[in-house]
Amino acid sequence: MVGSDKFPVSSPRWLLAELTYTCPLQCPYCSNPLDFARHKNELDTQDWLRVFSQAREMGAVQLGLSGGEPLVRQDLPILVKHARQLGYYVNLITSGYKLDEDKIAELKDAGLDHIQVSIQAPERTLNNYLAGTDSFENKKEVARLVKKHGYPMVLCVVIHRQNIHLMREILDMAVELEADYLELANTQYYGWAHLNRDQLLPTREQFQEAEAIAQGYKEKLKGKMKIYYVVPDYYEDRPKACMNGWGTTFLTIAPDGLALPCHEARSLPGLNCPNVRDMSIRDIWLHSDAFNKFRGFDWMKEPCRSCPEKTRDFGGCRCQAYLFTGDMTAADPVCGKSPHRYTVTEAIANARSSFQSGEGKPLVFRNVKNSKSLSSRMGKA
């Protein structure tokens, strides 16, 4: 069905390069797969340079260098330089941990366009607890240095029940650090966040209060700081247009070379994602089964198939459909039209009761030890 008249294949615009799964932080909402510790065999420098060139030829223009923590890759300046020469807008998505001024300057010289620094919370104790690392002062210093070296400064704060009550303080911190952009990313519940959902999902009231505060600052800071607000889809009645549609815009390459239509797709069983060690980006994008699987609308079931909104939300997220229903071709259960909407309602109720009772499982932090133990359990399942 590649390039059929009904649904012509567009070219990729966004390349997300997950350079490594190694990370000094242990955030319990990490979007990396639970079993990241068993995916070793990282791509080498030449592999990445080839991937960047091939994806650029296809039309990719935004490049996210992510992970894990991309700064642990010793070849980062080489990768940045090559990417910039190819004409990418190069985004470094980092925890900022141990990023010093020399490195910031070196990356600027190499052609890096932008550094996005994540901060877990607007105060030291909570930040360090969530990050599982003593990193708060260092992160704030990095934010100042990013600004000093002329990069657009983007602060990213992932929002969940452990920090949502600090929305005002988060916004004040962004003002103090003179961020050009603030990304308030409500947690999306996949991977580690899904595992810890009962402890992370805010109640509807918490979410509404926080959103109202953010909205107020948005007005006040117009022209000074752009605020991106990523909505928590559980509280919506319609699903997000996940990835702008499968295989239309986004291409993720995992540390071991697996090519994914979205960074969660490796959790989908039987998808059989291709590897850049075996196939060119062109073949992967145009001809692989995995990238064609959910293109267009032919794969849909009801209620999506006959839904007039399918051209807007593409049936929502395939990974979320799978997580809730076990069927990756089902409608995203967030949708009010989904027969599985009740499962989302149940998840919300479970999180609420965990909040109200103050009990429940402790947070499972994202680290190698926990990943190995979860992998062995998954292996047995």
Partner: protein, 93 residues
């Protein structure tokens, strides 16, 4: 911010204006985002290099495209570019 017609216009250092061969158009790139430009917007923004004010941009484009009456369209585009942070106004010394 109101458009100051006497100012010089320069492109924001926090954004990049670039020709995209794959898309056959100019785009503006910024952190994790992209705006696709039509031909006339691109022609105007390319002239925002810190050496021209509104009148100069208008007269240059009217000459280039052998037409007149572009002033309103151009100032409208510049106003929106200013609001979006794509360009900056530098007061003349």
């Amino acid at each position: 911010m109101a458009l100051d017609t006497k100012s010089l216009f320069s492109f924001s250092p926090l954004h990049r204006l670039q020709w995209e061969e794959a898309q056959q158009r100019f785009v503006i790139l910024y952190p994790e985002g992209m705006v696709e430009l039509n031909l006339s917007a691109a022609e105007i923004l390319k002239l925002c290099d810190g050496t021209r004010d509104l009148e100069q941009i208008v007269s240059e484009l009217e000459t280039k495209f052998e037409t007149t009456g572009l002033r309103d369209d151009i100032s409208e585009l510049l106003q929106s570019a200013l609001d979006n942070g794509w360009i900056r106004q530098i007061p003349r010394q």
